[in-house]
Every structure is written in C-alpha cells, then in structure tokens.
Amino acid sequence: MDPHRIYEIRCPVHGFVALNDWERRIISHPAFQRLRRIRQLAWTDQVYPGAMHTRFEHSLGVMHTATLLYDSIVRNAKDVLSRELGYDDAGFRRNRQLVRLAALLHDAGHSPFSHASEELFPDQENGEGKYGHEQYSAAIVRGPLRGAVEEHKLNQGNYGFTADDVASLIEGSAGAKQGIFWRDLITGQMDADRMDYLLRDSHHAGVQYGRFDLHRLISTVTAIPGVGGEPPRLGIEHGGWHAAEALVLARYFMFTQVYFHKTRVAYDIHLREALKELLPGGHFPAPTPGELEEFLKWDDWRVLGLLAEGNGGEHGERLSSRRHYRMVYQTNEIQTETDRKKLARVREALGELVAAEMPAGRSWYKRDDTDIAVYRNFGGQRTVAPLSDHSNVVRNLGKNDQILVYCLPERKQEAAKKVEEAIHGLE
C-alpha cells in the first residue's frame, strides 16, 4: 500500500474531503467508525425529518474546514507566526498535520445522540464537575486509537507525533505545548467545528438559517500580533467582518429555530431521562482505562434497541409514542427584571404541573460571547477592534436567556389556563 496516496470522500457540504493514508487508517478504526452510529442532532428529525446525519460526516468536515482555516492563517500571517511562535517551514507542516488530526478526532468521545446525553457523564474524582466529551475523545486517542495515531509510516518518517500530542490539543492540556495556539481552531469563537456544524445542520435540516459566506470568512481569518506580553490571537481581517457578522447571525438563527426548538428540547429531556433508566447507575462509564471500553459500547443503535424492547421507562415510552412534554410557557429571549417576576408567578401558579424547565443557558448550543477581534493594517497603521464595534447588529444582539416551561401533554389545557390567569394584566 502506498503511504503517500491521497483519498477523497464525498461530502454534501464541502464537495470532497481529502485525506491521506494515515488518516484513512484512523478513520477505519472501530473507535472512529462508532461515530457512524451517533446522530449529530439527536431526535431533531422529529421536527426536521432530514436531520439524520451523524458525527462521522461532521468529523470529516471539521478536519477539512480546520485545514482551510490553517492554510489561510499561514498565508495571511506567516510573519507573525514565525516571529512569535518560531515556526519554520517544517514547523508549519507539522502543526498543519497536528491540527488535522485533532479536528478529525475532537468528537470521538461523543455519547449516544451527542450533546443530548452529555449530562449523564459521571463526576470527575477531583471535584471539578462532570467529565466533558473532549475528555472522552482524549482518552480514546490515548487508548484504543493510540496505535492508529502513532504507528503509521507517514508519522514515523515525518512527524513523530504521540497520541498524547493529539489528545492534549483536543482536551486543552499543557502537553500540547506551543501547538495550544491552534486550539481556537478546534474549539473557539470561530472554530472549524461550528463553521461545519452550522452549514451541515442547515443542509440536513433543510433550513437556510445556518448559512454564511464560509470562503470569505476563511480567506480573511488571521493571527493578530500580541501586545504587552500577550500571545498572538486569532481574529479576522477588516475585509471579513461582514462574513463574521453573518456567522454570528447564523448561530443565533440556528439556535432559536433548530437547536432550541421547543419540541426538540422536549425530546432531549425524554432521552436523558430514559437513558437514566438504561445506564447502570444512571450514568455513562468514565473515560478511565478501566471503563473506557464499556463506554465505547454505547451508541445510538444500542439505545434504540433497548428502547424498542421497552426498557426506557415512562420517558422511553413517550419517545416512541411521540407523547412528548408540551411547552406551556416561554420567557422572552432577553429577560428583564419584570420577565423574571412573571416567570416566578407562572411557576407558582403551575406548581406540580411543571414537568420540566429548560433554560437556554443550559443548552450546549447556547450562543456564547461574540467578541471576535477585527484587525486592520491600513498603511502601516494597525488597529484591533471587536466585531461589535463594527456591527450594529452584533452590538445589539443580546444574550438569549430564554426559559421554556413544559407540562404533560395530557394536562396541557389545564396548565395553559393557569398560565393565562397568572400573567393576566402583566403583559
């Protein structure tokens, strides 16, 4: 087999995703193939029937997008990177491959139905909260995928990467060394992950909300020199700020129309509760050497099989019969003190009729900070300003703190009446 052969895989978003023989071997490993059995958007197909795509195709797309971003940054800011991070041509080649591997494997640790079940990750022993899917990804790279990452001729003859090098960049560890600079491309404000998922989720859901000018954005992304002892940071050249604005808006629309859709959120709640019934101890095995193998046995197929056998309890039954919770009240996206008081009255009036609540801030897809740095070099005069200083739209796009309140479908009328009485006169 020729280790230098390049392969291409069809992609509905990017056309073709190119990969080398080393990456192809990694993709062929069972720990990566498992992603073919994990849907990207959980039960979103109950609202948007086309949204049946998987983490597998998304991971390929992230590798492709991260490479485009990397190449563009090097094109636009080679001098900055050479000066501040000391790269020579070999350094640029090495980091490019590291970014590709980290991007490809960043989601290897997803649990069944992706983010919908992440709340069932166990607590860490050090008291720092629950494990995150990046820690599972890193553990899989250091464990089952170690051989596939380390033992290919392309690696041994050219890069000498260890599984630790890739895992450290994925999880955000000091072991990533100077490669940590590129972590913003894997998980950050303008990362390859969200650029890919917005376009891919839009495509499969059949909506236009997540679309933006990917190629303009990519061509203007750059590394901005650090000042006052700070490291260089990723940002956007002045000519690309409208494309960055469109990315921010795409996230807003996708959040409100798809990710935080009231019915989709209800299915997330039922899935989580059903999984508590299915998982031993009510949570996933930990990403530790003793439990990781067991974790990898969990995928959508296994969960669906167990649900089909009637093992998911009341919530499993609600999933299969579509008798999901119904939204009975929603706050405004931007909450004022008055909104908070109104919600308190609704909660009091509904009492035990409240089956569940879901705040937007608790959603994995919540819209985080929009502070993208815009860099301008005009005749040697260099300025850096936040995107919000250029864009009126971004400046006024407040954070979505909406809360959705749910009741049982069989008690929807009763609950709706109580809500109406509670807020009467306050509208």
């Binding site: 720092e128 909260g129 000091a174 000042v227 002892g229 700070e230 801030g361 819209r367 200083d389």
Partner: protein
C-alpha cells in the same frame, strides 16, 4: 445546587468582583482568571469547565454569564482601546443589588475567597494573570498524575505553552505561587528540585 441557584451564584460573584475590584472596574481577562482561581484554588463551586488555551485557562460560559449580568444591568461594560488592542472595563451596574441579593447566601459562604483573590491578584495585569493561571493549570495537571515537579520543570512546561515569556520570568512567578502555597505538584522552590 440546581441550575437557577447556580446561575444566581455566578451572577452574584461576577457582580461582586466587578464592584470590588481595585479602581472600581475589572477587565475580561481578570474576570476569567479570578473565576478560575476561585474555583480551582479555593474550591468555590462555580461549575465552570476550564481548559487551556494559549491565553490561559478559559471557559466561554464565564463570558456568557457576564453577558447575562450586563443584560440585567447588574454590571456594565465599556470598551476601551490601547495601542494594538482593546479591552473592557466592567463596573457595577444600576441593578447590582438585585444580583447580589439573589446570590447572597453563596456570597456569604465564599466572601473570604473573594477577598483573597482580590487581595492576592487584584492589582496584576492581564499578561501576568494569564501566566499565573497557566502555571497553576500545569501544576494541577501534574498533581492529577501524581507527579512532583521542580520549579524549573514546571517553568519549562509553561514556557512550551507560552513561548513569548522568558523562562526566568516564569520561574520567578512559579516560585512566588509556590511560596504562597498555591501549587500542589510543585510545593516550593527547594524541596522538589
């Protein structure tokens, strides 16, 4: 703590830090690193998940909560420019008291820790806070693996992440943190060598 209580606690801490910071305002970097230090060094259960970037430990949820605090006018942010960059001055807002009252029990429990972070780190600049929090992050990673590090080895690991700092400066900062008892894998500059 349920989600709503956690949110109240986080907003109260952000508001308290902005209200009591030296000079009456705090920057975003300082806010991020103070939350990190409170959670990791002092064990204040803010529920953030910090991971490492070239600019130190970071969790975008802190900025998300800051945005909520701004919307509620518990704090207000003003953009400021300096040569080659920009920053924010975050001050107490008109409705700060509502946020402080909502998280009062949490604040009362952790007032000593907030006093500590403002006393020990309140006057430090952004670059130093990024460096100091990175040193603590690298130290905690080593401690989780039951490693014992010398100041030199810890400084070398941090320099790999932050190559724009000279190693001697990093060693000095690490020694100061060790002398204050804030490092776990690297207890002080002598015994671990």
């Amino acid at each position: 703590m349920d989600w709503s209580e956690l949110q109240d606690a986080r907003l109260a801490v952000i508001t308290e830090l902005a209200s009591r910071a030296p000079g009456g305002h705090i920057g975003r970097t300082a806010l991020m690193k103070f939350c990190y230090l409170l959670q990791i060094v002092r064990g204040v259960s803010l529920g953030y998940r910090f991971t490492l970037y070239s600019y130190g430990p970071f969790d975008s949820s802190v900025l998300s909560d800051l945005s909520t605090a701004e919307t509620l006018n518990a704090v207000q942010s003003n953009l400021t420019y300096y040569p080659g960059g920009y920053g924010y001055q975050i001050r107490q807002g008109e409705h700060a008291n509502s946020a402080l009252e909502a998280g009062q029990d949490f604040l009362n429990r952790h007032r000593g820790s907030i006093d500590w972070v403002l006393r020990e780190f309140g006057s430090h600049g952004s670059a130093d806070l990024e460096l100091e929090s990175t040193i603590i992050y690298a130290d905690r990673e080593a401690a989780r693996r039951s490693e014992t590090l010398s100041i030199e080895l810890l400084a070398q690991r941090v320099r790999d992440v932050k190559p724009h700092f000279v190693e001697e400066y990093i060693r000095g900062k690490a020694s100061q943190l060790a002398d204050k008892g804030l490092l776990k894998a690297c207890r002080n500059s002598v015994s671990a060598r």
